[in-house]
């Protein structure tokens, strides 16, 4: 059984839930089994937000992720809160613009300044898409082009300019964590 259990966390307003939803949607479009479970407490802008995504090729048991294969931490408090829930050989993806990746983690740590990259592209709010690009490229859980297609449909309905930036953000994220990813 091939199953990837993912925790995505950050502060409210960073688009954490959207990141998870697009990831889940991409998995669904690729014909995989998937669950998306948001934290639904008193999440507000500036507070904390997290969600859990499970992608599998078989029927999924628990949508609740106790032990994660992948942790995407978009800020420091989220990293501290969830790093203990990452499996020893799990992949840690850290937004180094807002969090200090733990020293001494030999394998599976990807540290990229998502927010800084997004700022350079023109919108700090696209940091979630940079992270999504990085997550897809470093874990192969879904294909980049599936996500890109979803963003395209999305942009058509809302803001075209923001859609452009999001596409660039996605690509920048994938390139930033795996040199050579752009050739795939």
């Amino acid at each position: 059984m091939n199953e990837t259990r993912i925790i995505i966390a950050g502060y409210g307003g960073q688009g954490i839930l959207l990141l998870g939803k697009i990831l889940a949607q991409a998995a669904m479009q690729e014909g995989k089994r998937v669950t998306f479970l948001p934290a639904y407490g008193a999440e507000v802008r500036g507070g904390t937000a997290n969600c859990m995504v499970v992608v599998s090729d078989e029927e999924i048991g628990s949508p609740f992720v106790e032990q994660a294969d992948v942790l995407v931490a978009m800020n420091e408090p989220s990293l501290r809160r969830f790093e203990g829930r990452l499996k020893p050989r799990g992949v840690m993806i850290v937004n180094s613009s807002l969090a200090q990746p733990p020293a001494g983690r030999a394998t599976g740590a990807v540290s990229v300044p998502f927010t800084d990259i997004a700022l350079k592209l023109g919108n700090a709010r696209s940091a979630n898409m940079v992270a999504l690009g990085c997550c897809a490229a470093s874990t192969q859980v879904v294909a980049l082009k599936t996500i890109s297609r979803i963003l395209q449909d999305f942009a058509g309905k809302t803001n075209k300019q923001l859609g452009e930036i999001n596409q660039q953000a996605l690509l920048a994220g994938s390139k930033a964590c795996t040199p050579g990813a752009s050739q795939r």
Binding site: T35, Y40, G41, G61, S62, P63, F64
Partner: protein
């Protein structure tokens, strides 16, 4: 689609044309979805001024012959109990959705299964029963709405969908299939009595012996439901030494744990009650001859386990694992517990 959205969409497709609700986490999306989409199908969705108003509006709509529904979460469902008892007493169909959260009191908004007693033992006053269905996935929640409205009309009885906050909030892929709807003649409905004798809908019977007759009629109906409406899912019972019993969202976590144990060669079986009332006693009948150990796992401190005990005629050893108030038994804890029983 989220569980809340899927239940709302399923209800509309199952012919629900009247919805009244009042906001409470974690079922708010259900009310919001109804407000947005019910008008598209020519139905009515109302955000009532209170839970009491909502359930009594359902009473009115059901009396007029409409497929009617309300939804809430635990504390709100407590407020609706009087109305549910009246629905049962007046023999009106109606669907009530409870996306359970932590209790008692206002509790919290975390997923829970602490309202099992309330749903299966009445909750309101009087000798009555509701058919109770517990979905374990978004897809199943969608499909069960067709069944819920069908059974409500067939038996002229309230039907409860018992979910939890996790099921309501989680999203899963859902293939929306058009379900079959059987329409029931409702000669008893209050549709305007021009040209016929007036219909009377009531639950008050003061004449000597009248209420007893009503009660006996209800009991006959409940006996029929016991015979025909038991539903469950089971797996790996043939070689099982330990049988784990869980329902709804809890079953999902149990299933993951049991899968891991079976991969490691452990002989564990599974029973998932889908109807909570009537409880699927028949799932246990073929097992009564064997000497097995049972484990009930719940997001409560032990409610469904009482029905498992009754189904086993209290003759077999049964253990319990449960947490509530925001705690959820983890896969790891379940595996650990089962290992102590092998």
């Amino acid at each position: 689609m989220s569980g809340n959205d899927a239940i709302a969409e399923g209800a509309i497709r199952a012919g629900c044309r009247f919805y009244a609700g009042y906001p409470i986490t974690p079922q708010n999306e259900l009310t919001a979805y109804m407000a947005e989409h019910m008008p598209e199908s020519g139905g009515v969705a109302i955000q009532a001024e209170s839970e009491l108003a909502a359930i009594n509006m359902v009473f009115g709509a059901a009396a007029a012959g409409a497929r009617a529904m309300t939804s809430s979460s635990s504390p709100g469902i407590s407020l609706k109990q009087e109305g549910i008892s009246y629905l049962a007493g007046a023999e009106l169909p109606g669907v009530i959705v409870n996306m359970m959260r932590g209790g008692p009191g206002l509790g919290n908004i975390a997923p829970s299964q602490s309202d099992y007693f309330q749903a299966t033992r009445g909750g309101g006053h009087g000798d009555y029963r509701c058919l109770v269905l517990a979905p374990a996935s978004v897809e199943e929640a969608f499909g069960q709405m067709f069944e819920a409205f069908d059974r409500a009309d067939r038996y002229r009885n309230p039907v409860i969908i018992l979910g939890d906050g996790m099921l309501g909030q989680m999203m899963e892929p859902l293939s929306v299939s058009p379900g079959r709807i059987k329409s029931y003649a409702k000669p008893w409905a209050l549709t305007g009595c021009k040209g016929r004798a007036p219909n009377i809908i009531r639950s008050l019977y003061l004449k000597d012996g009248a209420l007893e007759d009503v009660n006996l009629r209800l009991q006959k109906k409940y006996a029929l439901m016991r015979r025909t409406e038991q539903r469950w899912e089971s797996a790996c019972l043939d070689d099982a030494r330990v049988v784990v019993v869980a329902y709804g969202g809890m079953f999902r976590i149990v299933k993951g744990a049991v899968r891991k144990l079976r991969e490691a060669g452990k002989k564990i079986g599974l029973i998932r009650p889908i109807s909570l009332w009537p409880f699927p006693d028949r799932a246990f009948e073929p097992l009564l001859k064997k000497r097995l150990s049972y484990l009930a796992v719940e997001m409560s401190y032990g409610q469904m386990i009482e029905d498992v005990r009754l189904a086993l005629c209290t003759r077999q050893p049964i253990e319990f694992l449960g947490r509530a108030g925001g705690g959820i038994p983890t896969e790891e804890a379940i595996i650990k517990k089962i290992k102590t029983m092998l």
